[in-house]
Symmetry: D3
Subunit: 136 residues, 6 copies
């Protein structure tokens, strides 16, 4: 009897899209206004989904308070109110698209969450743009 | 050609998290403020997903008005404005975590919905906390 | 140059509507399912609005981090995961309708927020039901 | 490493539910108020999900700006501010239920999106009613 | 001690914008795609705000269940799943813009709600477009 | 007969809070993580409210399509995907708090909107933080 639980969190960050191997012209052509050298930013909405058996003693798959604390320590403290390109080691050499951010978050949390649980991450860059990764 | 349709509903209920086999101390330690003996409560948001073939005569997988009526009769009338621990037979001896509630709702509706349809249930306890069960 | 700022917060609580001066029949007739003696509950969404001059040094009307802390200490710690009728002195003898709750919250915060600021409180009991009080 | 990205769009349209092979009585009985011969309407919310490998040069699965343009050209320009029954060839002879609309949108976009990508379409007819199709 | 309470409701309707005193060319030029002779439609979200004294016996300004019933009888039954131009007497000779609709709803409800209460009506035509009228 | 209409828009920008007259220590103490010298960012949600008489010929207070175009030209093109501190003349010497941004937006739009209309601006910096200015 496998149940999925999910917890929502948020972080606000600056970034720019940029490929260091390309000329400024090509960067501007491909990434448009997202390439602004002075950065822009987003309120990222993060949803962490964990799937597993219900523990018969607690009725929990996982304590969502513990999961919220883990997200706080591992993700919010790392990325909230940061410049993803300048302030984080994860995106020093990796373009901080929503796709790359969601994979990075998956990998950080995957190491901290017991492998008996399936993990899936959703990241809204805006209300209308989403990236999602489940380790596939 | 399988299409999924979904219908959202709501119920407002009181509950407390509690394991009768444990001491008060252990209950408090594990469930924290959710263990308050005087109960607290939530606006539960329920999403019932039904997947199946489109009926070529109606263009419906299932009449969502009928599905809404079923949710009203089987779930809202049972749980809305109730104390889950005291007023419902389902949670007399089952801890009303979001995980256990979503499984109970799945089982109630599974008996009432034709087996040619797949069924999946999502239950938001708060805007940020979700449990989901699909019979797996 | 007066600007209004607002901060949203949440608390989850159990309550029942009840007038001790009335018979059980009259209570049931007037309050319907909200009169359930075993309580039901809600996720309350609270919006605290503060209006005043912008401080030219900070660019703030009021530090929203400070306001969030005040809401946490004065409102969330008092009402979150509580039974409003049983666990709080404010509603021992006051019917915890959304209207009465919003007035109580206004009065608690009004004492803690400098009178140079106008204060207005919105309280959503459900997504579709709101009460609002501004001291009028 | 497969990531899903999604883009939200909207269109506002009139429609009525109707089966030309049936009598007026049967149409009214089955489709109720949705059968109104003078039409009613909805704000449709559309979510287009595309799943594939991250392009290592761009960090994109697919450029969401390009996807937004495709949705604009192929779906919004076709259905927005239209009467689905009268103004569109797709629903001249097909009942415009949410289920049929989501399949039509899937087929239109499937022809325009590279087959290396998986495609899934969600369509909200109202906040509480959804249809979803992924080509199954 | 005046408190405002509010109740949200919904209706889905078809309409077109049109001034009978104008040529087709002028109608098309002014109203653009909203002038489509075959109609388009919306999910209208309605918020009815009532302001008054709290009744000390009930703790209510007004019973929101009664207000919901009034909105159902007077507004939803009249406009839901209707063509505003063809099916309603209110918009036979009045252009059904959001502005005109909100004034019509105000006047219908104003006659049914005790004058000791202030009344204010908000009407969302889409998530991003609102009209509001308070009798001014 | 005065009706208020409103239009929602969005822009995504980077910023930092900073007072040039203060030491780095004081800036950090007052603005905390919002003072990050490398910037962070937000998805700003903007609501422009215009109040006036309904034009009897059009049924509009103001054409919301025209208002949307004005917001696009005057606000989105100016601030979207920009670094407010570095890329805009408005915040070269003005701390880009939500309060200051909402006043700047009010003044820009007030010059472009006929004085027969009242104007009020709401700006959400996050889902939970709002600033609002109406020229008072």
């Amino acid at each position: 009897m496998k149940v999925k639980v999910a917890r929502e969190a948020h972080f606000n960050a600056a970034h720019r899209l940029f490929n260091a191997a390309w000329s400024d012209e090509k960067n501007k052509q491909v990434f448009g206004k997202c390439n602004n050298p002075n950065y822009h930013g987003h309120n990222y909405k993060l949803i962490v989904e964990v799937k597993g058996e219900i523990n018969p003693d607690t009725g929990y798959v996982i304590d969502l308070g513990d999961l919220a604390s883990l997200i706080k320590t591992e993700i919010e403290d790392r990325f909230d109110h940061k410049n993803l390109n300048l302030d984080t080691k994860e995106f020093k050499n990796l373009n901080p698209t929503a796709e790359n951010i969601v994979v990075v978050i998956y990998r950080i949390l995957r190491e901290k969450i017991d492998n008996k649980f399936e993990l899936n991450i959703k990241l809204y860059e805006t209300e209308r743009n989403l990236a999602e990764y489940g380790g596939e």
